[in-house]
Structure formats: structure tokens, C-alpha cells
């Protein structure tokens, strides 16, 4: 029994060599036919980072980048914002000095940067527009340009959500089927959870609810594509 593998190996080694010989080309057998779609393929475009940054500055009240950086960072230790230089490459800006091209598609780091910038924008906007004491006149509110009562019915939410929807996505919320309902659900859920949360927040339940709606819109794919 112990010799069997060796015998097999020797037998194989002494056998005729395995060779591959040329053969005539034979067309593959046709199994089906389908039409090739040669029309131009096209998808939504990524908003240029320059446009994103300029719009971001505008949503911060038309401030200069340095001022936005200072205000977004704040003095509360919230670490909501680092520095513009930390975000430029992540947002897809080209670096002509290094011959790095403009990013044409999103990637994980870019989406993470969008998320971080959205949270900074929305939280500071809640502080500015909704938490200010004395209250800021409606005419001076940039993002939350409405009163934010604690109790809202469907119509009350829809009209306020429409303000944010126009601000971030550029069209009335009613044109996006189901979106008002979805966001109302999100808002209500955040308000309810916030009211019963054991950990204290610097935002009231209503403020937290509107902040979450703002996050949702500022991170929405439609905000970053066109």
C-alpha cells in the first residue's frame, strides 16, 4: 500500500506527453440574439465643490470662509467643524498643483464629509435661528425661516418643511411624493425620543426635531446632484 502513490507517479511520468495542438477556429454557437443599446447613457451630475462651498457659505448667512469656520467650530467644544483645508480634497476639489483631477463621482470619504458639514450647518443654524434670545426676526433667519411651535399638525409641518425643502433642494416639497410624510415621521420620532431621553441635550425636542430634518435634507442625494 505504501508504494502505490509512487507507482502511480512513475506511471504518469513515463506516459505520453500531454500536448495542445492548434485547431481551426470554430464560431461559438449562437444561443440568442439581443439588441445593443447604443443610446447615450447619462446620470445626474455631482454638484461642483465650488458651488457646494459657495452655497454653504450662503446658508451660513453669506459669511466669508474664515468667519464660517470660526462660527461652525464655535466655542462649545462640540468639534462640529475642523478647518476648510481638511475638507477640500474630500469634497472633490481638484488640486492643480499636484495634477489631481476633480472628483466626478461621490465616494465614502466625500459622503462622510458631506455628513459632517451638514451637521455643523444644521446645528449652528438651529442655534442661530431657533435658539436665539431674544428671538431672531423671521426676516433674518437663513435656514429655519419660520416659527417652531412645540405642537404641529400635518399642515403646520408641511408648510415649514416646504421652506427647508426649497432651501436645500430647490423645489416645493409637494413635488416629491411621500417626502412630507416621511420627514414628518422622522421629525415626530426625534421629538418623541428626545422628550424622553435620559441624557440632557442642549437642544429642546422641537429643536432637535428640526435639526434632524435639516440633516436629512443637507445630506440628501438631491442636494449633492443635479
Amino acid at each position: 500500500m505504501r508504494l502505490t502513490p509512487l507507482a502511480l507517479l512513475l506511471a504518469a511520468a513515463c506516459g505520453p506527453p500531454s500536448t495542445i495542438t492548434p485547431a481551426a477556429d470554430v464560431p461559438l454557437r449562437e444561443i440568442a440574439r439581443s439588441q445593443e443599446d447604443t443610446t447615450t447613457k447619462q446620470d445626474l451630475r455631482l454638484v461642483p465643490p465650488e458651488v457646494y462651498i459657495r452655497s454653504y457659505l450662503q446658508l451660513f448667512g453669506g459669511l466669508a470662509p474664515q468667519e464660517v469656520q470660526t462660527r461652525a467650530r464655535g466655542a462649545d467644544g462640540g468639534q462640529l467643524f475642523d478647518a476648510w483645508d481638511d475638507y477640500l480634497a474630500a469634497l472633490g476639489l481638484p488640486d492643480y498643483k499636484l495634477d489631481l483631477p476633480r472628483a466626478q463621482q461621490t465616494n465614502a470619504i466625500m459622503v462622510a464629509a458631506f455628513e459632517r458639514l451638514a451637521v455643523a450647518l444644521c446645528d449652528r443654524a438651529v442655534e442661530r435661528d431657533l435658539k436665539a434670545n431674544p428671538p431672531l426676526p423671521l426676516s433674518e433667519r437663513v435656514v429655519f425661516a419660520f416659527e417652531a411651535p412645540n405642537k404641529l399638525d400635518d399642515a403646520g409641518f408641511a408648510s415649514r418643511f416646504d421652506v427647508l425643502h426649497r432651501t436645500f433642494l430647490g423645489y416645493p416639497a409637494a413635488l416629491a411624493p411621500g417626502r412630507i410624510k416621511d420627514f414628518h415621521g422622522l421629525y415626530s420620532s426625534i421629538v418623541a425620543h428626545h422628550a424622553t431621553a435620559s441624557k440632557k441635550s442642549r437642544f429642546s425636542p422641537t429643536e432637535a426635531g428640526w435639526a434632524a430634518v435639516c440633516y436629512g435634507l443637507a445630506r440628501h442625494p438631491e442636494f449633492h446632484l443635479y
Binding site: 445626474l44 465650488e50 452655497s55 470662509p65 492643480y96 426676526p137 430647490g170 416645493p172
Partner: protein, 644 residues
């Protein structure tokens, strides 16, 4: 109560037009492309008004800075015209570096100097103006000083240095006694002119009132004389006489034959051939550095300005080279902005004589650019930049180096000017003749060099237009590259025909079968024979070499591909995808518009924005025909408060 207000507002009259989702998306696209940002709520309300007219809105936004920025971005993405760290702009003649010493009062003391400065004092000729014995420091260029600094005696300091109120600290540095110091009496400085703290403060943190500079560097005359010492070369292997670390500078052949002749102090040669040339009044012809490094720090600049200079990102300290290179790019951006906002003939991108400069650029063109000439060139009799790409006389005399925010039009840069092709940012970014030719070929004719699959055999054939495997690209590339033959690759010095003929008998093969050594930098030994040497880069087409960059601009802008290429670039960018054969009809129609509109961008962009291709591009994933009966919503201002 707020809710009641809203409800009341909702019930108010609705004068808005019914708009489809496609309308809103189209308006958002237009805003992104022409206003450079998302539309505000107020602007969306404008769309919803019955009298909103898309064409009128487009026309109104085709003159704004964001429209120009949008088109500029297309060509900046293509050409990437920012110069990286590999390129240093620190000519010895115009770069003031500084050494930290210990002064007679035992306090730290900065002294500014130029590398290679000629001095009558033998111990310091071509070196820092005080010896290692006097300072305790051994200075090796490009390395930190070695040794332990000792107290410099007052008489040594006074004998070799002077104090100056320099241009970078004083607005009125040209006065006998400048008094308007940056940040003190001078407060209305341009926001983008920010000397670093290191230039504005002494080592102990106190504000700098005056700077101490080596005596020769502080000289103010415009003309000097060629300095000759009559020194003989040291014996082979001999060590420099202490306290010198390097051998004494010797007289070169040119100096010997032109001893005592006048020399412009703005020439790059002045620092190394004259002892009576300095940096001018208030050191205005030199850039200060905050150390002895090869590329020392100097001024503060934004690391990026993606949304324009008026909204620049936070500043950071930059080195001397970056200061120049930053303003090179800004010159281009001003040029492009003018081209697009004024709707100039797009061919001027390559042919224009005009440009725009500010204070830092004026200083660059007055002193630093000419300082690139003339080391190796003097063997051919060129001792000053005789035909600079930016003529000295064209530099606006009213601009001070610190006028960073003042931009003046220069109608004619000089006979060699040719749109962006002769700008330092282009020549610095694309440093070789072939790189310059290739990028023009690609960017403006939409053609690429693609190697054939020919077998690459060993070859000694120097003519790449016929060498197997190379010819498929180089047969086209070499004649294009020849247009740049007269622009020196490293310095952008223009090589005039009088001193540098395309075929130069001075550089013919000698009896040993080689041309003279000084020829090698400018004449290609591979294309030299017993009668003459051929200028580098010109072998493929002496005619193109003589025609220069203007010749290339003419050939490119009159080629049949130029217009369709520009149209394709702009169309592709605005509709956000690569064009295919399916778009040929559109491109042909738009090219007609472009050409019949005298190569102006506004008619072209208007036609693109009105095309179905543009209007449909952002409605791929949604029911674009959905409409909203403006949902009984209130007049915009009633609830939105007119926010931005």
C-alpha cells in the same frame, strides 16, 4: 401663533405660475452653472412668478463673475495651471535671505543678504558679508548655519551692514524717511497683502521697525559696472584661505573682456558681476525670506481659493516661490475672467497681447523675471533679457509690490506676448517644449498622442520624426514643439535671433568632432554639422521655430478643429458627460453658432443652455413632468421673510 400666521399666509392670493419639477430642476441647474450656487428661496419665488422668462434670466447672468468662473473652471480643469513645488522661483539676484546673529547688545539680530553677492572685501566676496570669525557661524548655502554664534562687534556690524526701512513693511518706502509701517501707521493695506509674523517681528517678538542688510545689497543705483579682480585660479587641490569656506570667485571670460563696462543692476548677472548693484530703494527689487533656506518663508496666502479671491480660505505662511506662483495663476484667472465677462474672441486665449497685473506681478516682471537671465547666455553676447516675454516698459509704473488687490490692464505685453502661451504660469507648469506643445494640441484641438503598436527597435536615429516606434507621435509633436524653441525651458528667457540664430556657425563641429562647450545648452549636438549647430528643439522645423508662440497660436486657432474642440469642451462640461457620436448634430449646430458669433462664448453658452440636451440632463431619475398647482402656498415673502 406662528402656525396661524402661516395658515393665513397660505390662504393669501396665489399669483404664482404652475411649474413642473423639470422647471425647478432646470432653474437649479442654471443657478449652479451661472450663479455658482444653489438658488435661494427668493430666487425660486421669482421662477414661480407668471412673468418669469428663462431667456431673460440667462441673459442677465451671462455677465456675472460666476459665469466667467464657470467657463474658467473648464479650462483650469483641463490645463491645471497652478505650478507645484518642483518649481522654485528664487533667483539669487532678487532673493534676500537672512541669518540670525548675536548683536553687540547680546540680542538676537537678523541680517539680510543675497547669495553670491560680489563684495570688494576679499574675505566675504561672493559670501555673506561677515566672516565666520566675526559671527561664529559657518554658512553653507542650503544648510542651517553651523557653530555657536558669537557677539558681533559693533564696528564690524557698522562696517558691513546698514539699516533700511524696506518695502514690505513701509507703504511709503520710497520717501527719505518712511513712516507708514504695516499694521501701525499703515492700516489700509490690501487684504491679500500679509507679510508673515516672522517678517514683521524681531526674534524677541517686538515689532520690526527697520531691517539690517549687508551694505552691498542696500545699494540703490540702477546701473553698475562689471567688476574684475584679476585673480588667478588656485592650484589644483588647494584649500580656500581661512576664514573662507569656498574658493574666491574668479573673473570669467566675459568679465575680462568687458571690464568696467556698464551693467544694468536689474540683470540677473549684476549680483555676481558687479559690486555696486543692490536691491534698490527700500530693497524694492528683492523678495525677503525669513531664513537662509533655499526657498524661505515670506508672506501669508490662502492655500486654496476655490470660490475666488474675495472669499479666500484662511491664510497660511508660504515660501517665496509660492508667492510668485500664486500670483502667476491669479494673472491667468484675471485674463480669463476678462475674456469671458467681456465676451472677447475666444481665440485671444492664445493670441492676445493684453493681460492684467497687480503689484506683486509688477514687481515680478520688473525684477525677478529679468533676473533669470543671463548666465549661460552671455557666451552668445546676451547679457540682459533683450526681448522679454513681458516688456519692462509695459509694466505699470504706478503699482507698488504691496498693491495686491489693485489689478491694472496691460494692453500690450510686448512683441512676444501670445495669450496664455507666454504667461509664466503656462511656461512654469509645462517646462519643456514638448510638454507645452502636447498640452496645446490636446486642450485646443481635442487630439491626443497615442503610440502606435510598432516594434521599438534599438536605434541611434536622433530624429524622432523618423525613428521607428517614435515617429507615430513625434512626427506631429516635434514640429509643434519647435514653436517654443526660442523660449528657454528652465528660465523662460527669450533667445533673440540676433544672438541665437537657428543655425549658428559658432556652434559648428570643431576638429575634435564636438561643438564648443558653451553651445551645449542651446544647440543640439545631434543636429550639428561642420557648418553650424541647430538650436535645440528647432530641428523639426526651423520655420516654426522662427514663427514662435504667435505662430503656434495662429496655426491652432485657424485649424478646422479649434472651434469644434472649444464647443465640445464647453458643451461636455455643461451637460456633464463625455460627448459621443450621438451628439455630433448638436456639436455641429453649436459650432456654427460659435463661429458665426465670432468665436464668442456667450452665444455658444446661450445656445447650449437652450438646447434639449441641457434641459433634459437633470431629469433622468425623476418624474420630471410632475406638476404642482403651487400648493396653495403663500406668497413667498410672507413666510420666508426674504432670507437669502
Amino acid at each position: 401663533m406662528g402656525a396661524m400666521l402661516l395658515v393665513a399666509a397660505v390662504a393669501a392670493g396665489d399669483s404664482r405660475q404652475t411649474r413642473t419639477l423639470a422647471d425647478y430642476r432646470d432653474f437649479r441647474s442654471l443657478s449652479i452653472d451661472l450663479a455658482g450656487r444653489f438658488p435661494t428661496r427668493d430666487e425660486i419665488a421669482t421662477l414661480e412668478r407668471p412673468d418669469f422668462d428663462r431667456s431673460t434670466w440667462i441673459d442677465a447672468h451671462l455677465s456675472g463673475p460666476q459665469y466667467a468662473a464657470r467657463l474658467t473652471r473648464i479650462y483650469m480643469d483641463l490645463l491645471r495651471l497652478e505650478v507645484g513645488n518642483a518649481v522654485q522661483v528664487t533667483p539669487p539676484a532678487t532673493t534676500l535671505r537672512r541669518i540670525q546673529l548675536v548683536g553687540p547688545d547680546k540680542k538676537a539680530l537678523y541680517v539680510y543678504y543675497r547669495r553670491g553677492q560680489r563684495r570688494t572685501r576679499e574675505a566675504t566676496d561672493g559670501e555673506f558679508c561677515m566672516t565666520s570669525v566675526e559671527t561664529g557661524l559657518e554658512l553653507t548655502f542650503g544648510q542651517p548655519p553651523k557653530g555657536t554664534p558669537i557677539e558681533v562687534k559693533k564696528e564690524v556690524l557698522d562696517a558691513n551692514t546698514v539699516v533700511v526701512r524696506p518695502w514690505w513693511l513701509y507703504r511709503d518706502y520710497v520717501e527719505m524717511t518712511p513712516t507708514k509701517r504695516y499694521g501701525a501707521e499703515w492700516t489700509d493695506f490690501d487684504a491679500s497683502y500679509v507679510p508673515s509674523d516672522k517678517l514683521r517681528k524681531e526674534a524677541d517678538g517686538s515689532p520690526t521697525i527697520e531691517v539690517r542688510v549687508c551694505r552691498e545689497e542696500a545699494q540703490v543705483r540702477d546701473m553698475g559696472t562689471i567688476y574684475v579682480t584679476g585673480r588667478v585660479p588656485p592650484l589644483k587641490g588647494a584649500t580656500p584661505l581661512p576664514p573662507r569656506l569656498r574658493p574666491l570667485p574668479l573673473d570669467d571670460g566675459y568679465a575680462k573682456t568687458h571690464k568696467g563696462e556698464p551693467l544694468s543692476c536689474r540683470d540677473g548677472l549684476a549680483v555676481s558681476m558687479s559690486v555696486d548693484c543692490g536691491c534698490g530703494i527700500g530693497l524694492q527689487y528683492c523678495m525677503p525670506g525669513d531664513s537662509d533656506a533655499n526657498d524661505p518663508g515670506g508672506f501669508m496666502l490662502p492655500t486654496h481659493s476655490p470660490v475666488g479671491l474675495d472669499a479666500a480660505l484662511p491664510l497660511a505662511e508660504q515660501n517665496v516661490s509660492t508667492w510668485y506662483k500664486y500670483w502667476w495663476t491669479q494673472e491667468l484667472e484675471h485674463f480669463l475672467s476678462h475674456l469671458f465677462t467681456e465676451d472677447r474672441d475666444f481665440r485671444e486665449l492664445l493670441t492676445a497681447k493684453y493681460s492684467w497685473v497687480n503689484g506683486p506681478l509688477a514687481q515680478y516682471y520688473r525684477s525677478t523675471a529679468p533676473a533669470g537671465c543671463c548666465g549661460r547666455e552671455r557666451a552668445f553676447g546676451l547679457i540682459e533679457d533683450k526681448e522679454p516675454l513681458f516688456a519692462q516698459a509695459s509694466v505699470p509704473p504706478s503699482l507698488f509690490a504691496h498693491d495686491a488687490a489693485t489689478w491694472l490692464s496691460v494692453p500690450d505685453r510686448g512683441p512676444q506676448a501670445s495669450g496664455i502661451l507666454s504667461m509664466p504660469v503656462f511656461l512654469g507648469k509645462y517646462a519643456s517644449r514638448r510638454a507645452r506643445a502636447a498640452v496645446v494640441y490636446n486642450a485646443f484641438l481635442c487630439k491626443s498622442f497615442v503610440a502606435s503598436d510598432a516594434e521599438l527597435l534599438p536605434s541611434t536615429e536622433p530624429n524622432l520624426m523618423i525613428r521607428p516606434g517614435c515617429s507615430s507621435c513625434h512626427a506631429t509633436l516635434e514640429p509643434l514643439a519647435a514653436y517654443f524653441s526660442r523660449v528657454e525651458e528652465s528660465t523662460s528667457v527669450y533667445l533673440p535671433g540676433a544672438q541665437f540664430p537657428i543655425k549658428n556657425p559658432l556652434c559648428k563641429l570643431q576638429k575634435n568632432g564636438k561643438p564648443s562647450g558653451f553651445c551645449d545648452a542651446f544647440y543640439d549636438p545631434a543636429f550639428t554639422d561642420g557648418a553650424a549647430g541647430t538650436m535645440r528643439g528647432a530641428y523639426a522645423s526651423p520655420t516654426n521655430a522662427e514663427a514662435g508662440m504667435l505662430g503656434l497660436a495662429h496655426v491652432v486657432t485657424t485649424s478646422p478643429e479649434f472651434a469644434s474642440c472649444a464647443v465640445s469642451r464647453v458643451t461636455s462640461s455643461l451637460i456633464g458627460r463625455t460627448l459621443s457620436q450621438d451628439d455630433d448634430t448638436l456639436v455641429h449646430a453649436l459650432t456654427d453658432v460659435f463661429v458665426h458669433g465670432n468665436y464668442r462664448m456667450k452665444p455658444l453658452v446661450t445656445a447650449i443652455l437652450r438646447s434639449d440636451a441641457y434641459r433634459n440632463v437633470n431629469n433622468r431619475r425623476v418624474d420630471a413632468n410632475a406638476t404642482v398647482e403651487v400648493p396653495g402656498a403663500p406668497p413667498h415673502d410672507a413666510i420666508h421673510g426674504g432670507g437669502p
